[in-house]
Symmetry: C2
Subunit: 316 residues, 2 copies
Amino acid sequence: MASLKVPASVPSPTEDAEQLRKAFAGWGTNEALIIQILAHRNAAQRKLIREAYAATYKEDLLKDLDAELSSDFQRAVLIWTLVPAERDALLINEATKRLTASNWVIMEVACSRSSSDLFKVRQMYHDRYKKSLEEDVAYHTSGDIRKLLVPLVTAFRYEGDEVNLTLAKNEAKILHEKICDKKAYNDDEIIRIITTRSKAQLNATMNHYNDQFGNLINKDLKEESKDEYLTLLRAAINCLTNPEKYFEKVLRMAIKKLGTDEWALTRVVTTRAEVDMERIKTEYQKRNSVPLDRAIAGDTSGDYERILLALIGHEE
Amino acid sequence: MASLKVPASVPSPTEDAEQLRKAFAGWGTNEALIIQILAHRNAAQRKLIREAYAATYKEDLLKDLDAELSSDFQRAVLIWTLVPAERDALLINEATKRLTASNWVIMEVACSRSSSDLFKVRQMYHDRYKKSLEEDVAYHTSGDIRKLLVPLVTAFRYEGDEVNLTLAKNEAKILHEKICDKKAYNDDEIIRIITTRSKAQLNATMNHYNDQFGNLINKDLKEESKDEYLTLLRAAINCLTNPEKYFEKVLRMAIKKLGTDEWALTRVVTTRAEVDMERIKTEYQKRNSVPLDRAIAGDTSGDYERILLALIGHEE
């Protein structure tokens, strides 16, 4: 369930565009007004506002926001204002650049979006970057990380509820053999199962693994030494089978960190506010005994705090 | 250019459906009438005929065709009547079954369709088989074959004309090193380049390879021993960069074979008649000094011959 709150009666896109223009005018910027508008419009409405803004002022709303705002608040507003496919294409493109490289972000986008949404990201990637998404991901990775990430980003998983229980049993057994008997964590069969099966099927396989072998698969996938591939594989399994728990953990880590991880915080809040943030908030409260809004308020400040709280549906 | 010939004035789908129903009636089947109608309608028209047939007779045209016809002619009519995405989904599904397994067919569909057409095949695969295409391909393959085929079927290549010549040079060099210095034919970098780059970019890379190193890449990819992976890799490169030459060769081999390879012949004629069969015919004539229609007529007979000739645009 989404946390985004859209007022019952919304001004026309032209009126919203005018108000935003006013927020930029004169000395200083009216950040409160920007939040009041953009943080309370859904993706379709934000798109119309950008179109109205371009039509009326012959300028790009995103460029003006970029010029008027700064630091974490700027990034949150910009990322939020994009429609989901554009935003995800941007996140993945950043994640393949040297200075902002992040295999984690690539995995997260690939594993948490629906099949058709992930495909829209790939279409958007063609439009924006004149390349394919998988070509950048493959080029900027290598070895086991590439072996895991490329099939994750190119997957078009079946989304029906049908589950083949015999297959789940067989594949749980394959996983257990490769992981526990052979410690072959990068085995082709592990990659095949994780990257091609439907989420419903994977869930059944993981449940069977747990029932049959007495351990969660992610417990068996832990080694003494910190290994990026293994960490990413565990996160992918979490993200595919328990997205709310996965996102709760990313938020928890981002907030707990000495010096908050604002990129992760912004990413999770902006990408989940229109999807499942209510369930993530429930998970957060359950796991941390403190509501997410209070945790965010304790760790951030100013306009950045205000837009995050608005997006997670915090009432003033 | 397509070879399919659609008459200037086409009867309504309902009239076509009625005529087909008549062709099935009484003793024997009127194959000539079936060819006259179906082999002269484009994909959209055939779809409307199927819908009209279902609406009027509450039966599936494909099932009735299946019941009325037999052997190679039957397969040609059935495969042809499907819309392209349905047909390709069926071809790949067959290719992952034990008795009709064919890594070649999987490679051919993946490499010769446009990016959006290949994606439509994946959507159709969900609808028809309640699974993802890549999940079946990955499950039914292993080792180097899987390593090549899975990224081929999941690719969504960029289709713009932009070519990065520096990249082409660098990647030609990588290919040459892996192939000629190391004989590492299944190296991750070879797979990455072939399976993710746009066809325009691949063309530039292959041209540079030829100019710089004096050999066509496919010549360097030959070994004494027959290796399925290497054969498939060479065919994929051909199919991606020279589709008409690729299809000419498949036709040549199908016809030359002792006992024609009807599955290959039917597949190429039905899948290319609405796409580029005219260019394939030109290639065929150039390479074999005999027109394709004469070669097909010499190797096939009866209704099967007649529908193939109709589809390649042979005038009576």
